[in-house]
């Protein structure tokens, strides 16, 4: 029904009760922006590695507080460290924000469909991120950077609120310095000293250097941003079949049983979160589906 998740390549123990969180210890907390932070986690007990695919997410549990879905933002090549980047907005993320090195979080996962980055070999790859939507795309960016020779042009178009909200700043600057990556950042509201673009991220699409007839696009951000970005990409000539978006819905179980994440006939947790734009195009324009 959805993009077939390449779950076979993961060493996930499905016999283990998927409803029970596994303990992970915080190794490092890094503040990204005023309200956004990154946690680096190490699996505890007899779990030594945590393989995942770019675009997948985990259910993150804070003792007695609650559990929420957060996408994985780390490098899939490093299976010993699990990285999540999130904004402190709700009960659980605010509790996470208070946690420090050595504290334990519960993790269930990895869940969901990945960015089909393995199908982008030989093609130009365009990433379009809105705000915190850069976090779920970063594992795919790592993958492309690691195996740079496999891909054509690689472009990241990233829109965020203000220059102070730019995520992964150092990394972006490092990548921008490379001649084989095209990184464009735009902000909604600039302030003095900002020399980059101002305006919505969709404005960057028409000028970005890629061949639309030979491109795979990966889009993540607010739903309305993903809708207009996909339309703009399509207008530029990218096939709807080659545009992928990552959906967000309320989730309680992440294993297709609680019903909360239904989006038409899809369960976002198991049929998504990554969908081919052509699969969901018609639903994105329907109100309250």
């Amino acid at each position: 029904m959805a993009t077939a998740p390449d779950l076979q390549s993961l060493k996930v123990d499905y016999k283990r009760n998927p409803m029970l969180p596994w303990p992970f210890q915080i190794r490092r907390v890094k503040r990204e922006t005023e309200d956004t932070f990154t946690v680096e986690l190490e699996p505890q007990g007899d779990l030594e590695e945590f393989p995942f695919l770019p675009g997948q997410f985990n259910m993150v549990y804070v003792f007695g507080v609650g559990e929420i879905p957060i996408s994985i933002s780390g490098d899939p090549a490093n299976t010993r460290i699990l990285i999540h980047t999130t904004r402190a907005v709700g009960t659980v993320t605010k509790a996470m924000d208070k946690m420090r090195r050595g504290d334990i979080l519960g993790i269930r996962g990895p869940f969901g469909t990945p960015w089909p980055i393995n199908q982008a070999g030989g093609k130009d790859v365009v990433f379009v991120a809105g705000g915190i939507g850069l976090a779920p795309l970063r594992p795919a960016l790592y993958e492309v950077v690691t195996h740079r020779e496999k891909y054509g042009k690689v472009v990241l178009l990233y829109g965020t609120r203000t220059p102070n909200d730019v995520l992964f700043r150092q990394e972006l600057e490092h990548w921008r310095a490379r001649f084989d990556l095209e990184i464009y950042v735009t902000v909604d509201r600039a302030m003095s000293g900002w020399r980059g673009n101002v305006g919505v991220v969709t404005n960057l699409i028409s000028r970005a250097p890629f061949d639309p007839r030979n491109t795979m696009a990966f889009v993540c951000g607010p739903e309305v941003m993903m809708r207009f970005t996909s339309m703009e990409l399509h207008k530029r000539g990218v096939d709807n079949e080659h545009i992928f978006v990552s959906m967000e819905r309320n989730m309680k179980c992440a294993i297709g049983l609680c019903g909360h994440c239904q989006f038409g006939s899809f369960f976002v947790c198991k049929d998504g979160p990554v969908f081919r734009y052509s699969q969901i195009k018609d639903m994105l324009v329907k109100w309250e589906i």
Binding site: G256, L257, G259, Q262, S265, E288
Partner: protein, 372 residues
């Protein structure tokens, strides 16, 4: 399949024979002015001589002038509450110096005895089969459901009269039980006799029947049992036309009828609570007062609740219209894409227990008849 006949007086022995095989027997009882499924000790706990009258938003028990045992229809609670309890603990964990003690996470201890369901209607058998698909066919399996579902024994009862809100015939889920049972009974009650025609579905059913006083059914018994379920079928006056229903609903997501019904709907969630197939849940993470021990509890939830679709910033389905549309579209359209079956078995509970009497069969009909 073998077909037997036994006298009504033997019903108690049938229950005893099941109990002897270490089953906890759950059957219909009269409780709080309703037919409620609960543990039964013997045939005297059954609703002998009772019937119910059901209509949109109305349910009343009535005395009959005979001793019919199964002359009632679906009550407010289905068998779902036993296999998929409304409140279930997922885990308990203790706080340690740095987080929580994962050693204490574990599956709950299995119940001491298996269930035997006594008096399951065909619509309910279909509902159980639908929940089996949801919880047991993966990719992820619900370990809590699997544990309770394993090894249950089912005595079905073919409906000898239709309820006021039933529409199983059009959903092809009744009134006669076709599969999913160990034994299926048809009650025969007339001037001459009060007996049961018993059809076996499994070897276990046959073995239990062999332990009570029964005889091989004569041709006229089989004919009579068929006449009874055929008569019931004719009594059913509500129907859902299922032809191409999935596409009809998908294509009419902006039909004015949704707005019309949203004006009536109280979003009380009664329909989803009484529905034998609805499976949505939420979880609550709670701690003891000292904050040392935490539990996760899974509870039935409903797509009619505003916070059901909440993501940062607001609910995806804020309007009543969108929530009612979600429920009906799920039952008759997206459920097919998800599980290869409708999510409705025509038991009529959502019609009976809707406080404003919304009839899902009328809603579907209204949309089909005036498509946008």
């Amino acid at each position: 399949m073998k077909i037997f006949v036994f006298e009504c007086a033997e019903l108690d022995n049938l229950i005893a024979a099941i109990k002897r095989r270490r089953f906890k027997v759950i059957g219909p009882t009269v409780s709080d002015s309703a037919i409620i499924y609960a543990e039964i000790a013997g045939a005297s706990d059954l609703p002998i001589g009772w019937t119910d009258e059901q209509a949109n938003g109305s349910y009343r028990l009535k005395r009959r002038d005979d001793n019919a045992v199964f002359a009632w229809n679906a009550g407010p609670q289905s068998w779902k509450k036993f296999l998929f309890p409304p409140v279930q603990k997922i885990f308990i964990t203790n706080k340690s110096t740095k987080g929580f003690d994962s050693q204490n996470l574990g599956e709950q201890t299995p119940g001491e005895s298996r269930y035997a369901f006594f008096g399951v209607r065909s619509c309910e058998l279909n509902a159980i089969a639908i929940q089996d698909k949801i919880f047991l066919e993966g990719p992820y399996i619900d370990p809590l459901y699997r544990q309770k579902r394993a090894g249950i024994f089912i005595v079905a009862v073919n409906c000898s009269q239709a309820g006021g809100t039933c529409f199983c015939d059009s959903m092809q889920t009744g009134p006669k039980a076709v599969s999913g049972f160990d034994i299926a009974l048809t009650e025969i009650l007339d001037d001459k006799r009060h007996c049961f025609v018993a059809e076996t579905g499994t070897a276990a059913g046959e073995e239990i029947l062999a332990s009570i006083k029964c005889t091989k059914a004569a041709d006229e018994d089989i004919t009579e049992a068929k006449r009874i379920t055929d008569r019931t079928r004719v009594q059913i006056h509500r129907k859902v036309d299922t032809a191409d229903l999935k596409n009809v609903l998908y294509q009419n997501s902006e039909h004015p009828r949704w707005e019309h019904t949203a004006e009536l709907c109280l979003t009380c969630a009664n329909c989803t609570m009484v529905c034998p197939t609805c499976f949505c849940t939420t979880v609550e993470d709670v701690t003891d007062i000292g904050g040392k021990q935490a539990e996760r509890i899974r509870k039935w939830d409903s797509c009619f609740m505003l916070d059901f679709s909440y993501i940062h910033g607001g609910s995806v389905r804020a309007s009543v219209k969108s929530r009612y549309r979600q429920w009906v579209t799920h039952k008759f359209a997206s459920w097919l894409d998800q599980f290869g079956t409708f999510g409705c078995v025509g038991c009529g509970r959502c019609i009976t227990w809707c406080p404003v009497g919304i009839d899902i069969t009328e809603e579907v009909k209204a949309i089909r008849e005036k498509q946008t």
